[in-house]
Symmetry: C2
Subunit: 384 residues, 2 copies
Amino acid sequence: MKFEHYDDAALRAQLRGDRFAVVYRIRGGEREALEIAEAMCVEQTVEFPARHIECPAIHDGILGQIDYDEDAGDGWRRVDITYAGEIAGADFPQLLNVVFGNSSLIPGIVLERICLPEDMKRTFPGPRFGVEGLRERLGVYGRPLAVTALKPMGLPPAALAEIGYQCALGGIDMLKDDHGLMDQPFASFRERVEQVAAAVRRGNEEIGGHTAYIPNVSGSLRHMDDRLKLAVDCGCGAVMVAPGLMGFDLIGYAAEKTGLPVVCHPAWLGSSLHRGEGGVDCACLLGQLPRLAGADITVFPNFGGRFSLTEAECAGIRDMAGEDQGTVRPIFPAPAGGMTFDKVPRMRSFYGDDAALLMGGGLFTAPGGLAENCRRFIEQLNKV
Amino acid sequence: MKFEHYDDAALRAQLRGDRFAVVYRIRGGEREALEIAEAMCVEQTVEFPARHIECPAIHDGILGQIDYDEDAGDGWRRVDITYAGEIAGADFPQLLNVVFGNSSLIPGIVLERICLPEDMKRTFPGPRFGVEGLRERLGVYGRPLAVTALKPMGLPPAALAEIGYQCALGGIDMLKDDHGLMDQPFASFRERVEQVAAAVRRGNEEIGGHTAYIPNVSGSLRHMDDRLKLAVDCGCGAVMVAPGLMGFDLIGYAAEKTGLPVVCHPAWLGSSLHRGEGGVDCACLLGQLPRLAGADITVFPNFGGRFSLTEAECAGIRDMAGEDQGTVRPIFPAPAGGMTFDKVPRMRSFYGDDAALLMGGGLFTAPGGLAENCRRFIEQLNKV
């Protein structure tokens, strides 16, 4: 069909930027996978029977295009599809929508990687700080960052503040809220953030330290701007966002509103992991998407802990966090879950120095007291 | 360990509300599933080795509690875990976080259903309109709603407006943006919404119609308030939110900011579907969560179309959208994808009258012209 007021030349003139590529794995043989990929080229863009669209520039420019395909082993094919950058516009959610919006609903499709051309990296520039910028803020070089978590839920603000104080006295690099801490009657967001930030500042002043307190801001949008402002006003060192709960766009929004680094937490995100039947590949979900969205640190469940990721999956996240992506800065992978002192050397050799090692319960419950254990953690990391 | 400034009696006094239950399916035999469930009681709350917490009220009140378990067939157990309502507080993202935050990262766990007590339904009241309220707004009773989608991407605002005008002339109940339409150089959000809304209004005036235009607002949070305001200023009949891209909280936020009904779109959400290895059960993901978040309509891929849901899964969504949940209003299930005129009678008998049937490409490409096809769609639904 033809569409009134459609101007083919005008559309063609508006589609001048480079196309971006998305790498998928599709279950099936060559023919089956290519059929699915062809459907995706339509599904992710015009969502309209293509043969009925009598608009050449839509066919040439708006529809997805299969660029490459190869065998990916085990009954899967790897297929690259390119899309016009203009379709994504300047909205990160729309970029994700083009990449995997409707295709996410079809089983047997895995989102593996997004490859942006340089002009789109100006629109989606990634983290503001990254590894280098965060090291500068903290003044920590030549070793992994030492991170712990404020917990357990149920403590009142004064008790959490005491923990923050001890952590700062012990010189931990970063203290993030446990992801369950939000705004609860026994510890409201405001009281917690004010009291913990003040206690951390006091500890920092006493020892000349640099501990950064990182409140979790993954609550209702109704209070988002107020909470982000409070984090800034209290001198917090970063904010933590769970994109599985809030969408990836909040990462960039929080970075822009606060001017602070952003820590990405994987809560709820696990439901999107490809576990055999389709979804988002681990390295993409927990490595590339947080980085592209603008996080400076990506927290994920370490292998060998109580969660499920394999060593290879964790290596994939590590590599995706650190690899050269031109102007998009590398970020810190932050393996977490079940970390103990005796695992630290192995984790350091696995993740390298540009990692943030997160020890929670293991740091609290080891003999010696919290401040002392923080010191021990740092000392352990200071030994090359 | 003990925690300074912890006050057991004070915490106990703050945990007075009813607990809420979450139904999970866990893969494994009875013993294995209960072990995982016990770990979840900790993981979803204190995330701290429980034996080290010397705080009785945290054990009694904050930790999750296994309430019930039964065989769920095929090597799965169904396990109910209850949590203190106070943990969720008044933040919808935090409710979801308690329900499935970290557990989403463990394979073999399915989120099946959230059961809120009455006092929590006051905090999380669900949709503002629901089936009854939306029928009142549209003046449509006794039949399913007829919905179509504005497409294809690539058309300029004037061409989209012409489509909107034809749809209004044809008397369609609702015209939603295709989910790919956001803010693109060839059709900016502002121009599209202004022009389409005006054209729909003109069509409505000519025939005394009620077509509601529903723009997609699933773009960057940076522009969210402006876009929501524009939707109101232009007289749009609802707004559309994709919680897979934006988080479920945006549904309630958009409802509150605009005072309009909200349509939930499943883009990206498919990655969270349980397809055998864990994730969110279909009826929960596309039925209960949109409803609880405050959507008035939930769009999902119909069975027999080009997507993957089974008839049973679609029945589950239908039932979850419509079942009696006390003060939380029923909403319209909106099956979409591959709908054609000949399928309408079967869909009506399957989904019942309290459904919104979404015909996109099939309505555009059927012989007769768009306005005529809209009339035919409505006539078909007016026949009992």
